[in-house]
């Protein structure tokens, strides 16, 4: 009895709808065509609907006409090949003990398909793929990882073809490339595209080239140019270069670009006025020792605060030619196809009065009956067909209100809010530098429109209210940063409530 001869074992970790079944079928039919006995199993059913699922294949040659007895489930520590159709699924395979350094070749696509739990977080809930990279480094005997989803799409196919190609390229099965390709051909559907993706992945896996996995795209931080050939803008650039240290200029340039685009060059000057004043305070508070983190943070969040989202902004962005082009690109429209967009908008009275001159807006708010009466007319969903002349002109006219923005009610509200926020931060600057920096960064919480916006502002106010409690602590900045993260953890603010009560207990 030869107890050492054992089947080749292969597990496929995929999500429902990714074609894991097709892939398992290819492996089986290939092995069978080569005179092997192959067995695959899976658990479809409801797990199929976007849930994570495992397909498992074993194969062995029959011996003396005796068929092997094959297992229906993978055994941790006893899997030769793991194919993961998504990067976190590769992580899951390791968590389940299917990947071990003595035998497992891990073939994984590095692309991400985010789970609901990652997506629903109000902040950034996306899992760090570098943890998977680190784990693969110690768990797998050999790893082949690249973005097979993109490779498959580029070749007009789906990820299963690319995974199959990578499996062939990994040369871990005792079958020739042609045997793999025959299996794809015998499958019958979309053969040409499948073989293209297969071939590309095969070469890629064979070349052994891996690509670095990153958690998020690198932010575009550019040193501002000296001149862009436009007088007003060049004046702004000159100011930027003259008055800010070099390491702060990329972020300040990004901020400056945003506010100028939002309003005009004069607004850019207003931004620099504020920023330079903050920088002067920063210098005074010994910010040089902190790399002027205060100014740097201010340059980012001040720009966001000054370029708040109002109807003028939305109308402006929606009517730009560049936006029309981007939509065409995003939906993958071909040259000869026509594309029309319909915007889903829901204006409320708040937006209407916000766009009125300050005094008029306040008068209307005070006149409740008129306000509510108009609200009934205004407050409803509207489908705006931006590609038609009528609707385009409607949005275009709203965006044409830009020159009057500074006098609008909304602007005065926003500017008051900015002033208060900056005052809180400035108040801490001389005594608690890190806390002052974090007070600025609290601005991250203000986002969204209407209800979302109010919720964000409420969280912002609550977090900012903790500043006095933390003023005396050297780790106050860290605590405030924690509060911001807690506020971004869930919609209802449960995590924030917990974190705040901790902070309160600190000061007791």
């Amino acid at each position: 009895m030869n107890t050492y001869e054992r089947p080749i074992t292969l597990a496929i970790l995929a999500m429902g709808g990714q074609g894991g079944g097709v892939l398992a079928d290819w492996v089986v039919s290939m092995a069978e065509a080569q005179g092997w006995v192959a067995q695959s199993t899976s658990v479809p059913g409801v797990a199929q609907r976007t849930g994570a699922t495992i397909y498992y294949v074993e194969m062995l040659k029959p011996s003396d006409g005796r068929s092997p007895v094959l297992s229906l489930m993978p055994t941790p520590g006893d899997v030769d090949i793991v194919l993961a159709a998504e990067f976190m699924e590769a992580g899951r395979s390791m968590l389940r003990g299917l990947v071990t350094p003595d035998r497992t070749t891990l073939i994984a696509s590095t692309h991400r398909s985010y789970a609901v739990g990652e997506k629903e977080v109000p902040g950034d809930g996306i899992g760090d793929p570098l943890v998977v990279v680190a784990a693969a480094g110690i768990a797998a005997k050999h790893t082949i990882a690249f973005d097979m989803q993109t490779l498959a799409e580029k070749n007009g196919s789906v990820i299963s073809s690319a995974l199959f190609g990578a499996l062939a390229g990994a040369a871990v099965l005792p079958f020739e490339r042609s045997a793999f390709e025959d299996a794809v051909r015998s499958g019958g559907k979309g053969v040409d595209a499948s073989l293209r993706a297969f071939g590309a992945a095969f070469e890629r896996a064979r070349s052994g080239a891996t690509e670095p996995v990153v958690r998020r795209v690198e932010s575009k931080m550019e040193m501002p140019p000296r001149s862009v050939g436009q007088q007003q803008l060049d004046a702004l650039l000159e100011r930027l270069h003259a008055n800010l240290p070099e390491n702060l200029r990329p972020m300040a340039y990004a901020g400056l670009s945003k506010v100028v685009d939002w309003q005009d060059a004069r607004y850019g000057n207003e931004y620099l006025d504020r920023l330079e004043a903050l920088h002067a305070l920063d210098v005074e508070a010994g910010g040089a020792a902190h790399g002027f983190a205060f100014t740097d943070t201010a340059s980012k969040y001040l720009a966001n605060a000054m370029a708040y989202d109002d109807v003028v902004r939305v109308a402006d962005l929606k009517t730009r030619a560049s936006r029309f082009d981007r939509v065409r690109r995003e939906v993958g429209a071909r040259e000869e196809q026509l594309v029309y967009t319909t915007e889903y908008m829901h204006p409320r009275m708040e937006e209407v009065v916000g766009s009125m001159p300050k005094s008029m807006g306040n008068w209307l708010i005070a006149n409740r009956r008129l306000y509510d009466g108009m609200g009934r007319f205004v407050n409803k969903g509207r489908r705006v067909r931006t590609g038609t002349v009528f609707w385009f002109m409607a949005l275009y006219m709203v965006s044409a209100l830009k020159p009057m923005r500074r006098g609008m009610l909304r602007h005065s509200i926003e500017m008051e809010h900015v002033a208060h926020w900056l005052d809180v931060a400035k108040g801490q600057l001389p005594s608690n530098y890190p806390l002052a920096v974090q007070a600025l960064a609290t601005r991250r919480l203000v986002k969204g429109y209407s209800d979302t916006h109010s919720r964000g502002e409420a969280k912002f106010d609550r977090v900012l209210s903790a500043v006095p409690m933390l003023a005396g602590r050297t780790d106050g900045g860290e605590w405030l940063a924690r509060l911001v993260l807690a506020a971004l953890a869930d919609e209802a603010g449960k995590a924030l409530e917990g974190a705040l009560s901790t902070v309160r207990s600190l000061s007791d």
Binding site: M1, N2, T3, E5, R6, M15, G16, A24, D25, Q39, S40, T41, V43, G45, A47, R49, T50, S63, V69, M73, T75, G77, M88, G91, R92, M94, G97, V99, T100, Y114, V116, K119, E120, P122, D124, P129, A135, I138, V217, A254, D261, A265, R320, V327, V331, E336, V339, Y340, Y344, H346, G381, V389, R444, K447, G448, Y449, D451, T452, L488, E491
Partner: protein
Amino acid sequence: MAERSFAREVEDLKLGAGEVFRGEGILAITKALLQSGVAYVGGYQGSPISHLMDVLADAKPVLDELGVHFESSASEATAAAMLAASVNYPLRGAVTWKSTAGTNVASDALTNLASSGVKGGALIILGEDYGEGSSIPQERSHAFAMKSQMWLIDPRPNLESIVKSVEDGFALSEASNTPVMLTVRIRACHVHGQFIAKDNKRPAYSMKEALENPIRDLSRIVLPPMSITVHDKEKLTQRWPAAVNFIRDQKLNEFFGPDEGPVGIVLQGGMYNSVIRGLQLLGLADSYGGTSIPLYVLNVTYPLVDDELARFCQGKSAVLMVEEGHPDYIEQAVNTSLRRRDIQTRVAGKDRLPMGGDYTAAVMMKGIESFLTEFAPPLLGNRPPIPSADLVLASPEVKSLADVVPARPAGFCTGCPERPIFAAMKLVEKEMGTHHISADIGCHLFSTLPPFNIGGSTMGYGLGPASASAFNVDADKRPISVMGDGGFWHNGLSSSVGNAVFNKHNGVIMIVDNHYAAATGGQDILSSRANNPLRSTNNSITKAVKGIGAKWVRQIDRTYDVGKMRDTLRAALTSTEEGPKVIVASSECMLNKQRREKPLFSKSVKDGKRMVRERFGVDEDTCTGDHACIRLSGCPSLSLKHLDDPLRDDPVAAIDNSCVGCGNCGEVSEAAVLCPSFYRADIIYNPSRTDRIVARVRSAVIGFFQQRRRVRRVSFV
């Protein structure tokens, strides 16, 4: 029409003697039924036996040729009752369902069937939904066999054994006049393997012959005194001994390995592959089933054949009972059997094997190792290293994966019409506070998971509203209950809606109608909208509930209208009308719709026809990354992306190309007043002449103003 077509697999059902059948376990069973001369087949779909139903539905020509009657039963109870045809007539019949869910539903009929006994072979194929990947509570079918005195076959999980068991099952049923259950676990249902086919057989006695020559036998009717004096006595004195004799004589149970040995293993047939692999990993078996430990494989797990068991245990100091799940019915029976004969062999089992969960090879390996260590340590030899991932799992790198690898439960598909229903419910809850919500079985149960987190209980198929029936009291809030169209026709019409009408229940009943039994694979049901030549469809749910007396009934034929859904739900919660407030929320299952429409669309585009495809997008520069839209949607195609803008911290929403343009995200953002970032893009394929002219005019005007602004704009970007 089911979501998957089995046109190709149907060809495999036609294979003749000597040809090799290659395919899934569940298809092999279908083929085995035809080889056994079955006269009628019924059942109710559900994982893991949906494919059996689907393939039979697609196999009408093959069945017609053989004279086999097939129908999709209204419920498992209907299917079980169908076997009554085998009580008086020598007709072989088979039914199938998901167990134990379906067996629970069927047990009324099964009890009566088992009491009457059968003349023709009656086989119940149970898709045992147990262990990892299961969608139901973890119970065992074994109990049903014991309580009703039916026999339970649990074959080794390879196609050859499974097919043989089907044939044996009919023969056993006929030899003992007892219905036989054949259980096949999830993975065995979906295992790919092969067997040598036989010719299909026409039924020896046809349905037509039976119907035209009725037989009435009072002794087969379940009515006292018959059920007590005749049936129960028969069970004990005739049917049981006949079954035991048949199982022994026909060698349905199998012995492997050496005849003698200090210890042995008794196992359910279904556990065979795991046991062999466990032994192999311990160096005690090879890859081809050769084993140095004697095995007694119970392909029939109920009833036990006492002589066989005694023979196997005699002379062994101990046996290991391998029995998956709890309670340990077989282990208890083995102990009783041995004690009665005063055989002193120790019975190990649940004392070292887990009470619950899958008996995987790894579990077997550990259990057998522990057994041998105690009772026959020399057999373990020099103990070769056994596979283990413990070292890797203990490393900090792998441990920290637990923090980043997200849970990924099943959820609503892209474009699912049920998503807007629950988005509307969340919106109503924001206005009126949280409510008691009774959920039900079906895709809509995914609403209990993130991001919706709606629903507090589920009691069984079609029982959502019934499970809210205690809350028929005066209060400031009303209970809301949910039920799918599948559950509605399975049982809900009477048990839930009828009950609510009769008891003047004031709660809200939301019937989610997606035109199919979607969760089980998109099978047609009474209210399906498609024209199915073989079945009667297009029977309205609204008419049905009105027909049994519901007064407040609203039908919504486009669930994607989130505003309307919300308003209707609010109206239902506030209406002063007495009795249940029934909302029939109806839109076609997107999975099925896409399967039907996608090929047509592609073909039309290819033919040069003007076609419009809709899909949604998010303007990344107006999206602020709050993700409120995702918390009200959860659509797989609504995802996130990080921008390279240094001013942004959080990822923005993004819609990928898998979007089917259902419109839910736009409707939600409008109804919930979220943000203006969503847009619908209408992509016109093969635009007409008029399209092109209009587009030229529009882009001339729009382009003029865009150009004007671009020139005047002072901006770095």
